[in-house]
Amino acid sequence: MTNMSRRAFTLTGLSALATPALIRPARAQGGSLVAATFPGSWEDAYRTVLTPMVQEAGYELTIAPSMAQDQIARLMASPGQPPYDALLVSPGQSDILVKEGLIEEIDPTRLKNWDKLTPAAQDAWGPHVTIEVNGIAYNPEVVDKPSGYRALFEDEQYDYNLALIGFGSNTATMAYTEINKAYGGTYENMQPVFDLLESYLPKIGAIATSGSNQMTMYQQGEIAVFMASTGNVARLRELGMPCEFAHPETGSPSVPVAIHMVKGASNPDAVYAYMDAAIDAAAQVQLAEPPTAMIPTNTEVPYSEVISQFVTPEQVANAVYPDWQAINEHRSEWTETFDRLVVR
């Protein structure tokens, strides 16, 4: 529990708050499963795209929106009586889940679509359903395309236009570790980035409470630059906002998103059906379109038009993968430092 990383709490996160004795919602047992997904467009997309597919396989799917961190909190809170059957998390959290023994290795032979996945997505702990490529979102009507992370802090045109967010966000955490490296730090020494942030705070546009909160501020013109995934940019464009994606000079930190089977899941068959649906070509074709614009992991699915505007399969193959073990070791401490740094 102590090694659980801290995350700036957000409203969306709240909508799925951890509860220690959260018992699975009342529902018909046997033919159904509860799958946690990220709230918002993920939730909507999974509900509309996957529910009918899982139903066809004979199971009833309940989508419970919850941030990755909250999913873990709930699981830890009720050992032996998991509130979910399947989780949706990134490696940052997968690591903790494995260490705490909360998830099970899967049996790939039970997934029809397993062989269609890219090799990187064939994870023993559960298939990767997409990969998030992170970089910088910017408003071309307000600022020039940033050349990379350093420019954001050093070029005056970004002053008062940049949004930052705490270490609860995977996107931000990866950005900070990259920036830290650029300013001479290491995972063991994050002081350079904190020094940078402290001196930059007076010129900051806003500090967001969550990743999605940045998009609201962007829409309002409150900010014009923020650390984002390609999916964020696609969503903003879908809403009619001018928005571009810039790859940082140091490479684009990427993070896969995986579905895991919870240890003690009431209905493993249903979980397999759900996983299979999520990596199914038909589903991923739909999910690759706006507003979700998820980069597919199924090799049969071509990059959609919107995704191609941001990344190429080559870029994805060469993306930067941060060391989550090192990050998790320090994350709670970083979160604390950051929070105290920004609170006025």
């Binding site: 004795a21 919602p25 509860v34 419970a64 906002m241």
Partner: protein, 271 residues
């Protein structure tokens, strides 16, 4: 000299009363009118001033496919709100009625307990209730939210009913009894009409509050059932979806209509 000063002071008085008074009034309803205006915005983002007039957000909001999850959330929330109103009415109206007639010593010692939730933060209560639930080995559920809402919002109705019940002349009920009416008839024909405006006003308040509550709903709610306020806040935060404005428009309209109805009905002595 003294006269001009007095005149100036009086003029200043009226400028202050009318000028500042109306300004504060505008300050109070301005944001609501603004939300209403924004809901007719034709632009895709919510900037002020709006780009033009359109009903597109309303169309989108009422579209059962595009806004299905919102509809479900609204349905869930209305279900909880209506059940809460029913439960609260059932326990609160008789209690307020009885306490208005109980000995002062008794009602004086009990009322603080019944009114406490008015000033206690519902967040703290939600946390406490969740702890209690987990201790009992129970999980968040519809029933938990219902009971939580009832506990937190019951005082709203208790207060409105108590106010009327206390002002109701007990001799009316005695008169009814001396005229041969049974207890039930007395209650239905005499006591109830007297406190009915209070029940209506209370039901209205409880309904609105239940529909709007975040903390209790959040802590005690079944994660698989999205509730309206949580859904709306997620929308407000994730992307300034114009439908938030449209929902606001609908909610403002509902509140305004109910308010006028209430005013007409019996608010004359509800407060």
């Amino acid at each position: 000299m003294l006269d001009t000063r007095a005149k100036f002071s009086t003029a200043l008085y009226w400028v202050f009363v009318w000028g500042c008074g109306l300004l504060v009034l505008a300050f109070m309803i301005g944001p609501i009118l603004l939300a209403l205006v924004m809901s007719f915005n034709s632009g895709s983002t919510l900037r002020f001033p709006p780009e033009g007039f359109s009903l597109r957000w309303y169309e989108m909001l009422f579209d059962p496919i595009a806004s299905g999850p919102i509809h479900t959330a609204a349905k869930n929330s209305i279900e909880v709100a209506l059940s809460t109103v029913a439960l609260v009415t059932l326990i609160t109206a008789p209690a307020a009625w009885a306490l208005a007639r109980a000995p002062k010593r008794f009602s004086g010692s009990v009322e603080p307990i019944l009114l406490a939730p008015l000033v206690l933060p519902s967040l703290v209560y939600a946390l406490a209730a969740l702890l209690a639930l987990s201790l009992l080995g129970l999980g968040p559920s519809f029933i938990a939210v219902l009971i939580g809402h009832a506990a937190v919002f019951a005082p709203l109705m208790f207060r409105t009913v108590l106010g009327l019940a206390q002002r109701q002349n007990p001799a009316l009920e005695e008169a009814s009894e001396t005229l041969g009416a049974s207890r039930i008839r007395t209650f239905l024909r005499i006591s109830l009409p007297g406190i009915l405006p209070g029940i209506f006003a209370g039901a209205f308040l409880v309904f609105m509050q239940s529909l709007d509550n975040v903390s209790v709903t959040l802590f005690l709610g079944d994660p698989g059932r999205t509730m309206l306020p949580l859904r709306l806040f997620a929308m407000l935060e994730e992307s300034l979806d114009g439908r938030v404005a449209a929902v606001s428009g609908v909610l403002i309209l509902a509140a305004a209509i109910l308010l006028v109805v209430l005013q007409r009905f019996g608010a004359r002595d509800a407060r």
